[in-house]
Structures are given as structure tokens and as C-alpha cells.
């Protein structure tokens, strides 16, 4: 009998848990540890944030699903990794603190044979003074945040209907943020709702970002193949900004937020400030605060985790200049550098470097979009790691090692630009591979036949379809496993 513990029940962790349970017999334990009681389809939080969906439509309780699937569930936060056991324990274990109201604050040690770290990110609002729901800006990172944001947005619309001009600032709350796509989506959903409410003329919508060019998305931009021509994502995205009258502050690091004003620095060193009546700014991510210890109790966190808090895996972390970065630097098995029975999936693994060129202002401020690894890659990595563990359990060291390198993986992103069966709009983008490979594909770094962008109502239908499909899959309904990651 083998016991696999999965830390986190987001897209990567939940996918891994369901696949492990599907593949392994009941004599093997599958254990999920998550501080959250609910599963959240995060891509739809942007619709919660404009009042077009409710929390109930984007979340569901995890416990009944895990009970039905015979997965052991601990609503708890893991904070220590003891990969060699120790302190009276022979087997490796993680120390957890319960967030389950019935056991709140109680600590426990959970032994494992195999461990998947799929904890996702810590939302690091603290990196920018005044950022976040405890400061002066809103967020759509969680369903709860998005609900509060929707209330604030509703108040903005009420003021606009009262004839009061409003400035809405949406984007990235720090120079090292990722998930520009989510901020992009929220920007255009806000704009769409302002038009629908008949108050667009009185509102100014401004996008603030750490990207050097529109359409960078932390992926160094994309070149779409379209009718035999090359359309840069900068042009594709800029066209939408022009059409919808949205302005932007580019290459910006938000230094601090005060009531009604954001202070920022741009990559050329100039400082600026932007007044706002409503601001939704995403935080930078870092790894969750987990410590690692060896058998004698010595802190070896630096051996297991990168300074960013993300887990070091089979990537090449050798520091190199941007020009020398290679697609092959990126991990493929996601196995820990320290332990051969530990993997990191989804956002929890430490990327070897950014995809976009990092920049530094003359004042030394780093403005460097972090690489996105949410959604499709997270799910695919979660599944590959689960398959590798199942192979190891069934066949020992001879078991097949499954890989899911982002340098050999495509991804699709449907970026909503407004909700409505007849009036909705979205940008559908496919990219292959996710990590640019300039040795294989030349300067563009990607296969032009598989890297594609299109705006229209059909892409909105696609986003709605994916919403229902992935919630169906996450609920482990019949034949859920036929729905790809």
C-alpha cells in the first residue's frame, strides 16, 4: 500500500488527486490537504467581479467530492516538509495546521510515501504598500475577493448614473506580477458592463501593467499566424484597446497605493501617479511559506525551495543573461531536486527564468513580468505527475516517467472581453509551445501554424463552455476523465 499526499486542491492538485484515485486501487491512499473548503474555477472570477456570476456558480465544496471518490481530505495548511522523517517519525511527513472550523488551529503530522506540492501561490499583497482588499484596491484572485469587488463596481455604476465622472484603474499591482491575462479580461468586462449600463461616456478606463508592450502577457508576446500573415499580439491587443477606448500605463511598477491614488515608476525611471475612483490590481505571487527540515531538524529550506518560495525541480536554474535562455532550461518531470518522491505541480514549481525580457529602471527597480503557468499547463502538469507516481507505485523504479515540459506543450487561452450570449466577446488565443524555442522555431520562438488569435462572439461561447466543462470535470461526474486538461 502506498500513501500519496497532495498539498493543494487547485487545478493542478485536484486534477492530480482525481487521476491518482482513478488509476490506483483502493488499497492505496490518496490524501488531499487544502486550507480551502471550496474548489474555485478561478478563470470565471472575472465575471463574479462584474456581478455577472455568483460565488455559487464558480465554487463548490470539496469534501463531498472527495468522500464520494474515497480521497482522504484534510482542510488544513501545510507549513513544514520533513522529507526524511525525524523527531520520532521514521517516514517522511508534512506538518499541517487545520483551518477546518471543527479542528481550527490543531496541528498534525501526515506521513507520505509520495508527495505532490501543488499549493499554488501566496497572494503577496504585502509587496506593495496599500495594495489589496485590506488596503485601497480590489482583487478578483479569489471568489470572495471578486464578490467584494463586484459590490464596489456596482457603487461605481451608481455614481456614474448620478452623473459623477469615475476613473477605473485595472491591472498589475507590482513590477513582478503575472496573470496579465486576468487583468486584461477584467478590464474589458468592466468596459463592456459600462457600455451595457449606458454610462461609458462618463468613465475613464485605464490599464496599468508591468508589460513592456500590450499583448506580452508575461510570455514575451506572440506572433499569430493569420491568413498567411503574421499578426503580433501587440497589434492584436492594441486594436482592441483602440476600439474600446481603453488607455494604458505601460512598463510600470506600482510602488504604493494611497486612498484614491497609485504611485508608480516606469522602466525609464520616471515616476508618476494616477488618481482613481475604483482600482482592481492583482498582486505578485510567491511560494507559500513552507519550511523544509532534514532528519536531524536542521532547516534546509534553501535546498528545497527557491528564494521566491517556489519548489526547485528538474529545471536548469543556472543564472544566465536573457539572450542565453533556452527552452530546455524548463522542467519536464517536476521532480524535486532534493527528494525523488516529491514533485511540484502548477504554480508551485520554481520557473528557471521569465519568458519576457526582464528590465530594470535606472533607479534599480526590477520590472519583469513573471511567467504564467496557470490553467491548461497546471492541469497537464498535475496529470503527468499523477501518472508518474502511479507508474512508480505499480512498477517501481521501472515505471514510466511522464513529462509535461511547457517548452513542448501548447496552451489555449480564452480571454473574455464581455459577457452575453449575443453581445459577448472574447479573444481566443492558442500558443505552441508556451515557452519560446528560438532554436527550433527561429526568432518568433513558436510554431506559426499553431499560434493563433481571434476575437469574436464564438470565443465567448467557448469560454462559457469551458466554464461548465471544467466544473463538470472537477466534480468528477461520469466520464470526467475524458475531458482533457
Amino acid at each position: 500500500m502506498a500513501r500519496t499526499v497532495i498539498l493543494g486542491a487547485g487545478i493542478a492538485g485536484h486534477t492530480a488527486a482525481l487521476h491518482l484515485r482513478r488509476i490506483l486501487g483502493r488499497e492505496h491512499d490518496v490524501v488531499v490537504v487544502s486550507p480551502n473548503s471550496q474548489w474555485n474555477w478561478i478563470p470565471s472570477n472575472i465575471w463574479v467581479g462584474v456581478g455577472q456570476m455568483t460565488v455559487q456558480q464558480v465554487t463548490f465544496p470539496l469534501a463531498p467530492i472527495y468522500k464520494r471518490k474515497n480521497i482522504e481530505f484534510h482542510q488544513a495548511l501545510a507549513f513544514e516538509l520533513h522529507g526524511e522523517g525525524g523527531d520520532g517519525m521514521d517516514r517522511p511527513y508534512v506538518t499541517v495546521r487545520y483551518t477546518d472550523p471543527a479542528r481550527s488551529g490543531e496541528e498534525a503530522r501526515l506521513e507520505y510515501d509520495y508527495l505532490i506540492n501543488a499549493t499554488g501561490p501566496k497572494l503577496n499583497f504585502g509587496a506593495t504598500p496599500g495594495l489589496g482588499p485590506d488596503g485601497y484596491t480590489w482583487s478578483v484572485c479569489t471568489a470572495g475577493h471578486a464578490t467584494e469587488t463586484a459590490k464596489a463596481f456596482e457603487a461605481v455604476i451608481a455614481r456614474l448614473k448620478g452623473g459623477v465622472h469615475q476613473t477605473l484603474l485595472i491591472g498589475m499591482g507590482h513590477g513582478t506580477c503575472t496573470c496579465q491575462g486576468a487583468a486584461f479580461e477584467y478590464t474589458f468586462n468592466v468596459e463592456h458592463e459600462l457600455v451595457r449600463e449606458g454610462v461609458r461616456d462618463l468613465a475613464e478606463v485605464i490599464y496599468i501593467t508591468n508589460e513592456s508592450n500590450l499583448g506580452d502577457f508575461g510570455m514575451d508576446g506572440m506572433n499569430f499566424g493569420h491568413k498567411g500573415e503574421v499578426v503580433p499580439s501587440e497589434m492584436f491587443t492594441g486594436s482592441l484597446f483602440h476600439e474600446r477606448g481603453v488607455k494604458a500605463i505601460m512598463s510600470a511598477h506600482v510602488e504604493k497605493v494611497e486612498p484614491g491614488v497609485v504611485h508608480y515608476e516606469q522602466v525609464d525611471g520616471t515616476k508618476g501617479e494616477q488618481q482613481f475612483d475604483f482600482a482592481m490590481l492583482l498582486p505578485p505571487f510567491r511560494g507559500v511559506e513552507m519550511k523544509a527540515f532534514d532528519k536531524s531538524g536542521i532547516d534546509i529550506t534553501g535546498d528545497v525551495f527557491a528564494p521566491s518560495g517556489f519548489m526547485k525541480v528538474d529545471a536548469d536554474y543556472t543564472p544566465r543573461p536573457y539572450e542565453e535562455w533556452k527552452a530546455s532550461d524548463w522542467p519536464s518531470t517536476y521532480q524535486s531536486v532534493k527528494y525523488d518522491n516529491v514533485w511540484a505541480a502548477g504554480i508551485a514549481f520554481a520557473p528557471p527564468h521569465q519568458m519576457s525580457r526582464p528590465r530594470t529602471s535606472p533607479n534599480g527597480t526590477v520590472i519583469a513580468p513573471a511567467p504564467p503557468r496557470t490553467g491548461m499547463p497546471s492541469g497537464t502538469i498535475g496529470r503527468a505527475v499523477a501518472m508518474s507516481i502511479a507508474e512508480r507505485i505499480k512498477h517501481g523504479a521501472q515505471g514510466k516517467v511522464h513529462t509535461a515540459s511547457m517548452a513542448q506543450m501548447g496552451a489555449a487561452c480564452i480571454a473574455s472581453a464581455g459577457k452575453g450570449w449575443r453581445t459577448g466577446q472574447a479573444a481566443a488565443m492558442t500558443v505552441f509551445p508556451i515557452i519560446p524555442d528560438r532554436e527550433k522555431y527561429g526568432a518568433a520562438g513558436r510554431d506559426m501554424n499553431k499560434t493563433y488569435g481571434e476575437i469574436g462572439l464564438s470565443a465567448h461561447w467557448m469560454k462559457v463552455m469551458l466554464h461548465y466543462l471544467f466544473i463538470y470535470k472537477a466534480k468528477a461526474r461520469p466520464f470526467w476523465y475524458l475531458i482533457p486538461e
Binding site: S239, A384, G410, A412
Partner: protein, 47 residues
Amino acid sequence: MNSVTTFTDAPLPTAGELRARKNVLIQLWRFAVLNMKMIVMITRGHH
């Protein structure tokens, strides 16, 4: 001070493109095409 950029140099979609983006029949066809592209991406692009 601030450095707010407008994108007036970016190309605007033509009136025909805007109509096509909202035309249900055309978009039903595009929906089918998008699904095919996704399937190709998933079958050939994942390991």
C-alpha cells in the same frame, strides 16, 4: 504627472469585421473551427 498611453495608432477592425464578430451564423462556424483548433492543440501539443 502620469504617462497614460492611448492606442490611436493601432489598427481598428473594419465595419465588416465588427459585423462578422457578432453574426451568429458566422460565429457558429468559427465556434466549430475554434473547437477543432483546440482539439489539435490538445492531441498534438500535450504529452
